[in-house]
Symmetry: C2
Subunit: 157 residues, 2 copies
Amino acid sequence: MSEPAFQDFYPENVAHCYGCGRLNASGHRIQTRWEGEESVTRFQPRPEHMAIPGFVYGGLIASLVDCHGTGTAAAAMYRQEGRAMDSLPAYRFVTASLHVDYLRPTPLGGELEIRGRVKEIKGRRVVVEATVSAAGLTTARGEVVAVQMPDHFSQGS
Amino acid sequence: MSEPAFQDFYPENVAHCYGCGRLNASGHRIQTRWEGEESVTRFQPRPEHMAIPGFVYGGLIASLVDCHGTGTAAAAMYRQEGRAMDSLPAYRFVTASLHVDYLRPTPLGGELEIRGRVKEIKGRRVVVEATVSAAGLTTARGEVVAVQMPDHFSQGS
């Protein structure tokens, strides 16, 4: 049994995201965990997630970087406060901006690895840098500016 | 009958992208056309494309901006050369970088409209700016730096 992922702690009413919600049966349901100072997501694209035959489409890479970033932002806030992720209040982040540089084509077939680092935490705002790699080669770099979700989003208003 | 979309002219061996390939039965198959100086894509998200209930997930928005941008880049190159999109050589672009600013939550339910403008054409590189709107309100802004696909990609090597 692996330890729970960041996304396992998302409150039920905000755990439906197509990219990272554990309750979205159609979605990617990514799982992100700390490995030392880095956050790591491993994801197996499906055959139809192609750009051109043999390569992963850029929108999937953007989506993985995005949700990896918001998950890492939440985990970083708990860690900064010395709180367990199952303690309250729950943190959930949304994306203010997303940037992805596609360095080379990402081969389709094997597992992708997204590794993130917290670049900055300032108030309700966390900046996460990430790399995407396939077969050990970095194919994309991204940056996510994540902000804490406004309270009215998560209170089922 | 509406006129053909930019994506209808993609050569068959590079028309499988999950975001914009007309031959990807599982994908979004976006269609983009000129409306004056702007390129326009209209897209109906599916119910599962949610971020939190009621709103579109950011990865879909990123994917739409991305593929809208590469499609617009190709169309802009033909237009600059005064060539029809069914003339040869065929243009197909890939993304060098993608940036999206999420201005406000994008409501899920109605059609999204992505409108693009060509910011710059320089050699094999085209920069496209885009907005995403729902129900007439702009919810995201994006920029795509697209570069002409290297020849060896599209020759089925």
